[in-house]
Symmetry: C2
Subunit: 366 residues, 2 copies
């Protein structure tokens, strides 16, 4: 086996081991804090003990599935509560292959590196469609890349790493292409609460037997460590996915499910809004400093990443480590996200010190 280990953990370790103060903009770990109801929910759960500490239903706590189903306007039988968005994507991609309609995934370039990792792990192959420099995706290019060999098309909107948000027309076309080739569109929407454009459209907006939507509470509630997400499958595909979930993980952790359910029921909409506004401010601060540093970048429409290209400073792992040591700012090498971005670096705006990091970069590259 030679599937690649995503680089995230390597860079995080390097930054943590550096001899100097480093602003960590590597991971997708939100720094803005969870809603109080997460902690309250865990406290409540901790006191239950006994039967409440035992196996939840494999597909997820009934009340949580009902809550998700009501919010997403689907039948609760279509919902599988997963070990984060990671397992949700694993189940969706495995399900696409199990349909035996092909063994190729159409992915974007740049790409979230877990998708090619999962592709290889599952014994499939990847075909890449380049996005525009601002991250927008032309569905016609996806159509050209699709074929009878296509098992699935995997997209992420709002997008990591580009910050692109696919509009309604793009999503409609992606669903249509999946139908044309009897493939499965896997739409990973874990950043759906971080749309600055108002253009975000879930793949669930289009009735289809050919799309799976994955999501997670990791970013929404700033609990990447809890591992609670979900996938919504068409009725015709959900049973086999539930079986794989059971045979892989038996069930998703119950303390986390309980806390998420409590938070869904008891979190004011102001929480989501405040975090989105915070991120919009950080985007402004950071991109202004990138202007000062003479960097290229696209201002993100959603999620919380900015890709930047500095003059004569390719986005290699070596250069990322140099930037940690010499500028005190840790980002991700663009090469981790595909061939089109080898000149770029990705910065996650998950630090209260975004302004400081921006100043450091402006100084370093000035």
């Amino acid at each position: 086996m030679d599937y690649d280990t995503p680089l995230f953990f390597h860079v995080m370790e390097y930054a943590a081991g550096a001899d100097r103060d480093v602003v960590d903009m590597v991971s997708g770990n939100p720094d803005w804090g969870s809603p109080d109801a997460i902690s309250e929910g865990l406290h409540e759960y901790a006191d239950l003990g006994g039967a409440d500490f035992q196996y939840p239903p494999s597909e997820g706590l009934r009340e949580l599935r009902e809550e998700i189903a009501a919010r997403r306007d689907v039948d609760q039988s279509q919902v599988v509560v997963t070990n984060g968005g990671g397992e949700a994507n694993y189940l969706a991609m495995a399900r696409a292959l199990e349909r035996e309609r092909g063994s190729e995934f159409v992915l974007t370039d740049p790409v979230y590196p877990y998708y090619p990792g999962k592709t290889t792990m599952l014994g499939a192959t990847a075909r890449y469609v380049a996005t525009d420099e601002d991250g927008s995706l032309d569905p016609e290019k996806v159509r050209e890349a699709a074929s009878e060999e296509t098992a699935g098309i995997v997209v992420n909107t709002p997008n990591n790493p580009t910050g692109a948000v696919y509009d309604e027309e793009t999503m409609r076309e992606l669903v249509a292409i999946a139908e044309e080739y009897d493939a499965l569109l896997v739409s990973d929407e874990v950043y759906d609460h971080f749309d600055f454009s108002g253009e975000f459209t879930s793949a669930l907006s289009f009735d289809s037997e050919n799309r799976v939507v994955t999501n997670s509470y990791s970013k929404t509630f700033a609990i990447t460590g809890f591992r609670v997400g979900y996938a919504i499958f068409p009725e015709s595909l959900v049973d086999v996915a539930k079986t794989r979930h059971m045979l892989t993980n038996v069930a998703t952790t119950r303390p986390g499910q309980y806390a998420v359910l409590h938070a869904l029921r008891n979190t004011d909409p102001a929480y989501y809004e405040a975090n989105r506004e915070l991120l919009e401010e950080r985007v402004e601060t950071f991109t202004a400093a990138l202007d000062d540093a003479g960097a290229d970048y696209s201002s993100p429409d959603g999620a919380f990443y900015v890709m930047a290209r500095f003059p004569d400073y390719p986005g290699t792992l070596e250069n990322v480590e140099r930037l940690i040591d010499e500028a005190g700012v840790a980002g991700m090498p663009g090469e981790a996200f595909g061939e089109s971005r080898t000149d770029w670096l990705r910065f996650a705006l998950v630090s209260p010190r975004v302004e400081e990091a921006a100043d450091r970069l402006a100084d370093y590259f000035a």
Copy 2:
């Protein structure tokens, strides 16, 4: 795809929906309560928030891996903290196949049904070795079943469903057979704290590059819903297993890991001992009633299940449902555990009402 869904959840639902009082002896959900330190640990964790709510290292919290490594006398780099024993077995079996030394698993009959489920899901085939009626396993029969096609041998000791505990000589031979055929012995030892015989021997007792040990805190701490387990791989095999863990689940839930670590550090040995003694008493009570009912059974040496065969009452799903409705006792159909046990029923001794259940069975079959 046609891999089977384990029957557990179906029978549990049927019992929950019955019109009468039912003693639930279906699941492996301990009823004796978690140590206080589990709840304390969760409370402590709930107050941490912020960075402590974010991704733990993919392979597990460092302190937890160190604690496990110290207790099992292995290097911490060999430990992967998993989403329960379920994921640990999934990683181990997938790792066996990834060695590309064969695509067959040698399993026992009776068998824990998740093993054949995983075998099929992973695209492999199963070859069964019958145990003796008391559940003991003759390594010579395993040797006869092994071949160049053998990717792995999967055993469970103490055993679910038979209650057998494999002794040192058996385990030594199983490791030797794995080495002879360059296969991987997967030794699932989740019931290691429930050995009544004193004969339990972990596969870790034998230095080998050909064995993986899986375990879980689900039974040890009565937290089947938390989903925290681990696998211990040989150094040469661990990296690829860690990559699969990352690509499947990203990481294991952090609240659960934190609570388990706290419980490992703060639980008196008396906790484990009291539960083992409780189970020994239940075995006595239950088997005495089986004598009264004219049933065949083997008294378990470990774990917390009893297989019983009643006169003219085959262990079908239909008969299990009839027993729920007519006797008020819910067990598992023996046919779920393999062809050799179609006449048998399995009862999990995870209810304070074991005596009542025993009386009901004795009355019903008298």
